[in-house]
Symmetry: C2
Subunit: 348 residues, 2 copies
């Protein structure tokens, strides 16, 4: 149960070294030890050296967590992610972790298998007394209320919660899709199909709805929609389903993310002998690494991950400092990336 350092000549007992052990070995008071380890507190150079040498000897570390119990800060934030296997989200996690680290805040990670798992881990997030939460998974009103009651600010990442005044950072999925549809329609495409993401994905819903509404505005009402799971194989399968439903290939496929767009292109080329973009235009969304590989060179909308994660981090830290800040929604336009996967008439 208790800890037992191995290969340590100086510390043969089985418990963690405490400030008391350090004080005893250094021959100073416990409060002197505290002063040495407390940021900003004063201690003479000699005292500092004696204490640090003793701490080194017994393997003592000032306990950041115990300190958190006193300051009521754990200096940890929870990051709740789902569908991490989507190629896109790892980038978000890396950027969030970097930015929190730069500010001395640690990331405690909660990865959901699906968006529905939230209840199961929510209790744990609360128990770890994180200072705040960034969630890229959906929360219910009731779940959000639990965080509010516990005094833990929450930032929704690419999620919102109906009409509630929550804090959120997101990419304008709808605007991006409307641009993609406009470009394709302007260059003469008329037979459109859509490969959506999973039905429980709010991001996919926003993207798919954005595309369909713009198509309707342009008088294009007959749109085939098939459902994918954001993965490569589902892009390939989605294209086969579209061709089966239509009886022949469409002019343009709008995939709800880049990875499915890539699968769709491979299936069109390999399974149907089609030229992309000669016979078929395919567009994605996200701007993941593989989107720019020469074999695909996707026309897509890139989420400005750096700016979005920076916004999420600074919004959360502000709210940890001051719980009374009013909620804020920040919506970032995606970066338009015209590639060669779609035939579009630029500059018209």
């Amino acid at each position: 149960m208790a800890r037992s350092p191995k290969n340590s000549n100086n510390n043969n007992d089985k418990r963690r070294a405490t400030s008391y052990d350090v004080a005893r070995i250094a021959g100073v008071s416990q409060s002197a030890v505290s002063r040495v380890f407390k940021p900003g507190a004063s201690a003479s150079a000699e005292m500092r050296k004696r204490v640090l040498d003793a701490a080194e000897e017994v393997g003592y570390r000032p306990n950041a967590i115990a300190r958190g119990l006193i300051t009521q800060r754990s200096n940890m934030v929870g990051v709740i992610l789902s569908k991490l296997t989507n190629l896109y989200y790892p980038e978000v996690l890396v950027e969030l972790t970097r930015r929190f680290s730069q500010r001395g805040v640690r990331v405690l990670l909660f990865a959901l298998e699906t968006e529905g798992d939230t209840d199961e881990i929510l209790e744990q997030v609360l128990q770890y007394q994180v200072d705040g939460v960034v969630t890229a998974a959906m929360l219910t009103h009731k779940q959000l209320a639990l965080f509010e009651k516990a005094g833990i600010p929450v930032i929704f990442y690419n999620r919102t919660l109906g009409e509630l005044p929550v804090n959120s950072v997101r990419c304008d999925q709808e605007e991006g899709e409307r641009w993609l549809v406009s470009e394709l329609a302007a260059s003469g495409h008329r037979r459109f199909s859509i490969i959506s993401g999973p039905e429980d994905s709010p991001v996919s819903k926003e993207r798919t709805t954005g595309a369909i509404e713009k198509l309707h505005e342009l008088g294009i009402n007959d749109v085939t929609v098939v459902v994918g799971d954001y993965g490569y194989e589902s892009g390939r399968r989605g294209f086969r389903e579209i061709v089966t439903q239509l009886g022949s290939p469409p002019n343009a496929v709008i995939a709800a993310n880049d990875v499915m767009a890539i699968g769709c292109i491979d299936e069109a080329r390999q399974g149907f002998g089609l030229q992309v973009p000669g016979d078929l235009s395919v567009v994605g969304f996200d701007g993941v690494g593989p989107a720019s590989y020469a074999a695909y060179d996707l026309t897509t909308v890139r989420q400005p991950v750096r700016r979005m994660t920076e916004a999420a981090v600074s919004m959360l830290l502000e709210r940890i400092e001051d719980h009374h800040l009013s909620p804020e929604k920040r919506v970032f336009s995606g970066v338009r990336v015209p590639g060669s996967s779609a035939q579009v008439s630029h500059g018209d």
Copy 2:
């Protein structure tokens, strides 16, 4: 500084609710509150209801971290990663997080910008009093000694530390490269080039050394080596450098990871009009998602991520339970993936 729940009608003061608040509202003793929240401790059904209702009212959560101070367990493990932007490592992180979560253990994430950053964050890992560490970043002997002194078991992931008896889980990089070289040589390739990873990457060093040694054994001593950074663009640049150095394209390129192999293929096709595998064979390592995209269909060696992460998790948890377990090294063979990016004569 202190917490202030918003939208809470029941709790208008600014600090976190404590067990004292719950006891006051429930009209019971503080130790009764503790018993209700302590796993395994006894409390009557009526007591439980009174306490839980009061806890709900004031937004009290039993503090997992405070409990950790008593049990000397934080139920958190540190995961140290570097070069996260390599497409490969996010998969490792997802798998590690899932497996620890399934066992009720939380992951505190430390992401290094480079392998050299370790010192800077090591102190923080120690201060958070994690129960153990999985590191996919290099540690020095001195750094490892600090963990040992603090009684924190460490599992090296795809890393070792010289001759020291440390715990490690890794993929047999050398074996994988020797297989790739054998396959290529058996089908007549003679002009080999290598695109290595960053010079400070131990994994790249093992892979590159493994390939070169096998080539030497086969009497192939004239091998051009250029240095990449594991990224797509460095694969493209690497191929251009190879052609410049050789004066003409090689027969075969061994890239130290899949992403650079993909870059190399795109550059060979787009920049030099070469057929892959007709004119040039390219092999990678890792088995990342894009390796199996139809445009590349890489011949590669897939790291068995699920088995490796499962091994790392179970080894670490065993050592948290019992610090006296002797060190263990587990080496997993990679999965051989024959693709169409290399001309090899199967079944000879």
